[in-house]
């Protein structure tokens, strides 16, 4: 048992050493893909919202292939689920409200 306990720090150190390069690669991608929108991108965001609204009004959203529609629905759901992640962070509890 004592030898097992002595091995724990070694295990943690090897895990950190093995994981660091992978984490660095992850961070390089995340800096670009998960970055919060910059102020310079506001016109693009506005254009995107306008496009969404106009396609909702004109009914253009019905003219897509099933594949496109599935992908769009999945992306929309993913974006929506960030709200629930944020709610869990805000209430500081995973299931329900801890009052």
């Amino acid at each position: 048992m004592a030898s097992l306990v002595a091995k724990v720090p070694v295990l943690i150190n090897t895990a950190i050493a093995q994981g660091r390069p992978k984490f660095n690669i992850f961070m390089k991608y995340a800096r670009v893909e998960l970055a919060p929108p910059k102020l310079s991108e506001i016109p693009q965001i506005k254009a995107g919202i306008g496009k969404l609204l106009s396609s909702a009004k004109s009914g253009a959203w019905k003219d897509q292939t099933v594949k496109q529609a599935t992908l769009n629905a999945l992306v929309g759901a993913e974006v929506l689920f960030w709200f629930y992640v944020g709610e869990c962070i805000g209430k500081r509890h995973i299931v329900g409200y801890n009052v």
């Binding site: 690669i25 390089k28 998960l34 970055a35 974006v79 944020g86 869990c88 805000g90 209430k91 500081r92």
Partner: protein, 83 residues
């Protein structure tokens, strides 16, 4: 960027990134607000319940004492009645 094994990073549409971040912050605010509101509500409820508990405990203790006295009296009657 030559050390990236999975090719260049995808340019995620600014609208999607804006949506994610704004929903995340909206969710954090919503969760914090409702946590605050619900814990205040619960605290009020607990206060009322603590007050009611004192009254209820008193009532139960009184009923218990009365029941014990009645039982004792019954028992005495039974014992004295048989002999």
């Amino acid at each position: 960027m030559s050390d990236l094994p999975y090719g260049p990073p995808v340019r995620v549409s600014p609208l999607i990134r804006f949506g994610r971040w704004s929903f995340l912050t909206a969710g954090i605010l919503y969760g914090a607000f409702h946590q605050n509101r619900l814990s205040k509500k619960e605290a009020k409820f607990r206060e009322v319940e603590a007050k009611e508990k004192v009254i209820r405990d008193e009532k139960i203790a009184k009923e218990k004492a009365m029941a014990a006295a009645a039982e004792l009296k019954n028992l005495e009657d039974m014992v004295s009645g048989k002999n």
